[in-house]
């Protein structure tokens, strides 16, 4: 059975399928979802593949239910995932907040299409990146990755499961229709080369219980601020609630408890950011102009940067792989050495604000509302205009 979990070898593979295979390689055993273009192929692949590896697939009645079901699957100890796109992602915001607050690991794949509303069902967008960060009400943290190829959606899906489990945080795969529907070479490693970071488990001898032997479900370890996690059915008699709760999981609605809990949810990600953040740099050593991009748009940006270099323009690219947490340290460092920043993204100006916030100057946005990729020449024109004024 285990050999079927990891399809070791070289494949010519669809991005949505590569995402599904990444989930299986990571040990995903439960998927609950609702069909929606352009993410449906993730569900279709897993409907066929999960029974091959002893896992469970269920098609729920809507995305509200899908998101709730994966919280249940994960609470019972199984690596759990759902996949959706814009309208479904909006519905999932309700229980994404619950997962963040109950600190139940889960992976949510969003193959982004153009929005708002029904928008562009079959065409790409990158307009959900701020929703990923802020979409549910209240203060909390999530982790979000943006792959730029089918290979990377495989790799990052594995990472998303690992980060989600390790830090008890929802992990979002913020891909887009271009990557989801792209067919490219995907190399899947041997099973023992797939990284695995498990969940921290309670240890009765390690201060995880109170005087009565009762497990403190939400008592974090001091070093990483992550509480170990017990699973339903193990006899801990745990309580999980969407109400503000104390370290034993019992509701406590006092302002101090609420402030401490929400702060910890954010701080546990900030403190462990080096472990979670991913980015890639291209020809940035002497760059005076930095193009920041991510996902499918980074493919055009990379070409534009190469062409601009050929014309002697000192430009480089920072590709955001983790959108959240935002790689602010590298951006701040670049702000010391570079003069100008260009942000290329398939929305009308979302990540450009985040970059602006960290470089503390105006940035040039190359924005498009979505539907078709931003062309390399559009980004090249922006680079030339910034370079030559």
């Amino acid at each position: 059975m285990s050999d079927k979990k990891v399809l070791t070898g070289k494949h010519f593979m669809h991005g949505d399928h590569a995402c599904a295979e990444g989930a299986l390689a990571a040990g995903c055993q439960f998927f609950a979802g609702y069909p929606i273009t352009p993410s449906t192929e993730v569900a279709e692949r897993l409907a066929r593949r999960l029974p091959e590896v002893g896992g469970v697939f269920i098609q729920m009645e809507d995305e509200l239910a899908s998101m709730a079901a994966i919280i249940g699957g994960s609470a019972a100890g199984k690596r759990s995932m759902t996949a959706t796109s814009g309208p479904g992602f909006s519905l999932m915001m309700e229980n994404l907040g619950l997962a963040a607050f109950m600190e139940v690991p889960c992976v949510v794949v969003n193959i982004q299409r153009g929005g708002p509303s029904t928008g562009l069902p079959t065409a790409a967008g990158q307009g959900d990146v701020m929703q990923a960060k802020w979409g549910s009400h209240g203060d909390y943290s999530v982790v979000a990755y943006a792959p730029w190829s089918p290979q990377e959606i495989f790799d990052l899906t594995v990472l998303a499961f690992n980060v989600s489990d390790r830090y008890r945080v929802p992990a979002l795969m913020m891909s887009d229709e271009v990557i989801g529907h792209m067919v490219e070479r995907v190399e899947i490693p041997e099973p023992d080369k797939i990284p695995y970071w498990g969940r921290k488990r309670p240890d009765r001898n390690n201060g995880h219980t109170n005087g009565n032997g009762r497990f403190h479900t939400f008592k974090p370890d001091e070093d990483d601020l992550v509480p170990p996690m017990g699973f339903a059915g193990e006899g801990y008699k745990m309580h999980f609630t969407g109400l503000t709760h104390d370290e034993s999981g019992i509701p406590d609605l006092s302002p101090d408890v609420h402030n401490d809990l929400t702060k910890r949810l954010i701080e546990k990600i900030d403190r462990n950011a080096d472990d979670i953040i991913r980015f890639e740099e291209y020809s940035l050593d002497d760059a005076k102009i930095v193009v920041v991009s991510f996902g499918c748009t980074a493919r055009s940006a990379r070409r534009a940067v190469r062409d601009a270099r050929a014309q002697g323009i000192p430009v480089g690219m920072l590709r955001l792989i983790s959108l959240w947490p935002f790689p602010e340290k590298v951006v701040k460092d670049l702000a010391e050495s570079a003069d100008e920043f260009i942000v290329a993204e398939m929305n009308l100006g979302q990540m450009s604000r985040e970059v602006e916030r960290h470089v503390r100057r105006s940035v040039t946005g190359v924005h498009h509302g979505g539907g078709a990729m931003i062309r390399p020449e559009t980004i090249l024109d922006a680079i030339k205009e910034v370079a030559h004024g």
Binding site: L64, I71, G72, G77, L243
Partner: protein, 277 residues
């Protein structure tokens, strides 16, 4: 005059989080009666306590999860059934009970309720129906009788309510019964029965809500609503009624039918766990 007797231990200490008492429920509320029946049934079920999981939604009845000393999940409004679905599918050894209110299960969670019944998934649902939204102060809901009053229907409820047993029967549940909070033995008996019954089971428990529902509808206290049940309840067996008659109208002199309405053995939902040969 009788003297107060102090005891060290309550028979249900093992299964109820005593340190969370006092509970939030108002004097005269019936949720505690239903929870007590459930707690007793859990202890008598023969299923190890660690395999029992209780899932609730939001509202007064939604607080049950927090009071039961079991693995418990207090989910978002309307979503206990899909969360319970994930728990059950990921670990089929668990006995998963959804304990929630009529507003949570039949209004905001109505779609999940009918789809879980359609699948006939092995979940045990206890629905405390108090005819209104109690926690938020007495608004009308999907079970409020027509013309009854609520804070959002000051001139009387212009809408028709759900007939929950009829809805669940039509949706595919294997077991559907209804009792009121005067039927403590019957409800416990049915809870024990549902633990053994494969597939989707649904027990509706009519409960007084003197502060939320009673105050707007000339029902003075919990006891008066219990009296109303006692006067109007009529026990029926399968085949002795038509589902249309299971409508409830507390404001009229009309019988409230209680009993087991559906008890069938349609195959319970099993996901595809391995590739068929």
């Amino acid at each position: 005059m009788a003297e107060a007797v102090f005891v060290e231990k309550h028979p249900l200490d093992e299964i109820i989080r005593g340190y969370r008492m006092p509970h939030i429920w108002c004097p005269g509320c019936g949720i505690g009666i239903a929870m007590r029946a459930f707690a007793t049934a859990v202890l008598e079920s023969g299923i190890p306590e660690e395999k029992h999981v209780v899932v609730s939604g939001i509202g007064c009845t939604g607080r049950v999860a927090g009071y039961m000393d079991l693995d418990s999940y207090h989910s978002t409004h309307g979503r206990p059934i899909p969360l319970a679905t994930g728990l059950k599918l990921a670990n089929p050894e668990l006995a998963v009970t959804v304990f929630s209110g009529d507003g949570d299960l039949a209004a905001i969670g109505g779609n999940h309720l009918i789809h879980a019944a359609r699948r006939n998934i092995d979940l045990k649902v206890i629905c405390v129906n108090n005819f209104n939204y109690g926690m938020t102060g007495g608004q009308v809901g999907p079970t409020t009788p027509v013309e009854a009053r609520g804070t959002t229907a000051p001139y009387g409820n212009p809408e028709l309510p759900f007939n929950l047993p009829y809805l669940l029967a039509a949706s595919g549940a294997n077991f559907v019964s209804r009792w009121t909070t005067i039927h403590i033995h019957e409800m416990k008996k049915d809870m024990l029965y549902m633990f053994k019954k494969p597939g989707f089971t649904f027990i509706e428990i009519l409960s007084p809500c003197p502060i939320g529902f009673g105050k707007s509808n000339n029902i003075e206290d919990g006891l008066q609503e219990m009296e109303l049940y006692r006067e109007h309840c009529q026990f029926v067996k399968e085949g002795e009624f038509v589902f249309e008659d299971l409508d409830i109208d507390l404001t009229k002199d009309k019988p409230i039918y209680v009993g087991r309405f559906v008890d069938r053995d349609n195959p319970a939902f099993e996901p595809i766990r391995e590739v068929p040969a």
